[in-house]
C-alpha cells in the first residue's frame, strides 16, 4: 500500500477510484463502513476496570506484607501482624458482576471464600430490582466446558442486603458466575434470562 495521493483517494472512495483495484483497501473501506468499527464501550466499563485493579492492588499489598514481615519479626510477631492485617484489608477473591443487556444498570461484587464445606460466595448487588412475583434469581457457576452448577436462589424482595450463596464444586474449575431469572415451577435448568455475569480470571493471565 503506497502512501501517495492516489491510494489515499482510493481509500477515501472518491470518484474515479472504483472498488476492485486493491483487495486490502477494499477490505479497509468495508471495515470503515461497519457500525461495529465505530462502537464505543459503555461508559461504566472504564470505572469497573479501575475499581477492580484498585481492589486487587490492595490485596497485592496485603500479600507482600505477609511475605516480608515474617523474615523481620519471627513467627510470634507474624501471628499478631496477620491478625491486624486481616482486620484492615479485605480477604477473599472478588469478582465483579456486571449487568447484562437485560439489566444494564445492575452491578455487584462476589467475594469467594474457601471453607471446609465448600466455597462461600457473598454477593453484594446494586440496582438489581426485587424478583417479580412468580420468579426468583438463581446464582450459577459455569465451567469453560459449559457445565453449570446452581449455587442458590434469592429474590431481594426484602431489600438489597448481601446474599450468601454456596458452591460445592471448586470455583477454579467453574470460573464464571451468572445470575439468572427463573420462573417458579419451570424446572431446574438455567433460563435464558441471564441478568448478571462475572468471571474469575487466571492469575497468570
Amino acid at each position: 500500500m503506497n502512501t501517495d495521493d492516489r491510494s489515499a483517494g482510493y481509500l477515501a472512495d472518491w470518484e474515479g477510484h472504483p472498488s476492485g483495484q486493491s483487495e486490502k483497501l477494499d477490505a479497509t473501506r468495508a471495515i470503515l463502513r461497519e457500525p461495529k468499527t465505530w462502537a464505543d464501550p459503555p461508559a461504566d466499563v472504564e470505572a469497573n476496570v479501575i475499581a477492580s485493579i484498585r481492589a486487587e492492588s490492595v490485596k497485592a499489598v496485603d500479600t507482600s506484607w505477609k511475605g516480608w514481615v515474617p523474615r523481620l519479626a519471627g513467627v510470634a510477631a507474624v501471628a499478631l501482624i496477620a491478625v491486624a492485617l486481616m482486620a484492615i484489608w479485605p480477604t477473599g477473591t472478588r469478582i465483579d458482576l456486571i449487568g447484562t443487556e437485560a439489566m444494564p444498570l445492575a452491578s455487584g461484587v462476589a467475594t469467594l471464600d474457601a471453607t471446609d464445606s465448600g466455597w462461600s460466595i457473598g454477593v453484594s448487588l446494586t440496582d438489581l430490582p426485587p424478583a417479580e412475583p412468580g420468579t426468583y434469581y438463581e446464582g450459577w457457576v459455569w465451567s469453560d466446558d459449559g457445565e453449570g452448577v446452581s449455587i442458590g436462589t434469592f429474590h431481594l424482595r426484602g431489600g438489597n442486603d448481601p446474599v450468601t450463596l454456596w458452591a460445592g464444586v471448586d470455583v477454579n474449575d467453574y470460573p464464571s458466575i451468572w445470575i439468572s431469572v427463573q420462573t417458579e415451577g419451570a424446572g431446574n435448568e438455567v433460563s435464558d434470562q441471564i441478568v448478571m455475569r462475572g468471571r474469575l480470571t487466571d492469575p497468570d493471565e
Partner: protein
C-alpha cells in the same frame, strides 16, 4: 507505548490505567463486538481484557509492542465468553451456518480502529461521516459548517494518515 507509562500501568497507577484504556478500549470493544455480536457481552469482554492485561503485565516485556499482546488477550477473552454463552444456553441454538468473521478480519478490524483512534478529532470526524454515515463532501461541509475545500483537504490528509498507520497490513505486490 512509553515503557515508563507501561511500568505505571503495571503498578496499577490509576492515571496510567486510564491512559491505556482510552488508547485501546475502542479497538478492544470493536474486536469483541465482532466476535460475541452483542454489546453487553462485548462490554464484559472489554472489561475482562483490561483486568487480565493488568494481571499479566508483570510477565510482559515492555520493549515489545503492546498492540499484538493486548489483541491476543482480547480475542481469547471474547471467544471464551462467546463459547461459554452458547454452551450454557438452555435455549436450543440453531446454527445459521454463519461462522462469523475470520481471524484475519478480526485482526484488521482491531488495526483499523486503532488507526482511526490515532487520527486528530477533525480527521476522525470526516472519516466517520464519509464512510460510516455515507455523506458526500458537500454534505459533510454543510453539517460541519466549513467550506467544501476544507473537507476535501481534511479528508485527503486523514486518509493519507490512515494509509501510513495501516501500512503494515500491506498486501504483497
Amino acid at each position: 507505548m512509553d515503557s515508563e507509562v507501561f511500568e505505571r500501568f503495571r503498578s496499577g497507577d490509576e492515571e496510567a490505567v486510564k491512559w491505556v484504556y482510552s488508547k485501546f478500549s475502542g479497538a478492544v470493544f470493536a474486536l469483541s463486538l465482532n466476535i460475541v455480536r452483542d454489546r453487553g457481552r462485548a462490554a464484559d469482554a472489554t472489561q475482562q481484557t483490561f483486568i487480565k492485561a493488568w494481571r499479566a503485565a508483570e510477565s510482559f516485556d515492555p520493549t515489545r509492542a503492546i498492540e499484538p499482546w493486548l489483541y491476543s488477550i482480547a480475542r481469547r477473552t471474547a471467544i471464551d465468553i462467546y463459547r461459554s454463552e452458547r454452551r450454557g444456553s438452555a435455549v436450543e441454538v440453531v446454527d445459521t451456518a454463519d461462522p462469523g468473521p475470520s481471524l484475519d478480519r478480526i485482526w484488521e478490524v482491531y488495526q483499523v480502529r486503532l488507526a482511526v483512534d490515532q487520527l486528530s478529532d477533525d480527521e476522525r470526524e470526516v472519516v466517520r461521516m464519509s464512510h460510516f454515515e455515507g455523506f458526500t463532501h458537500p454534505e459533510i461541509a454543510e453539517r460541519l459548517d466549513i467550506p467544501v475545500g476544507t473537507v476535501k483537504s481534511r479528508s485527503h490528509r486523514a486518509h493519507k494518515h490512515l494509509l501510513v498507520l495501516l501500512a503494515h497490513l500491506e498486501e504483497p505486490s
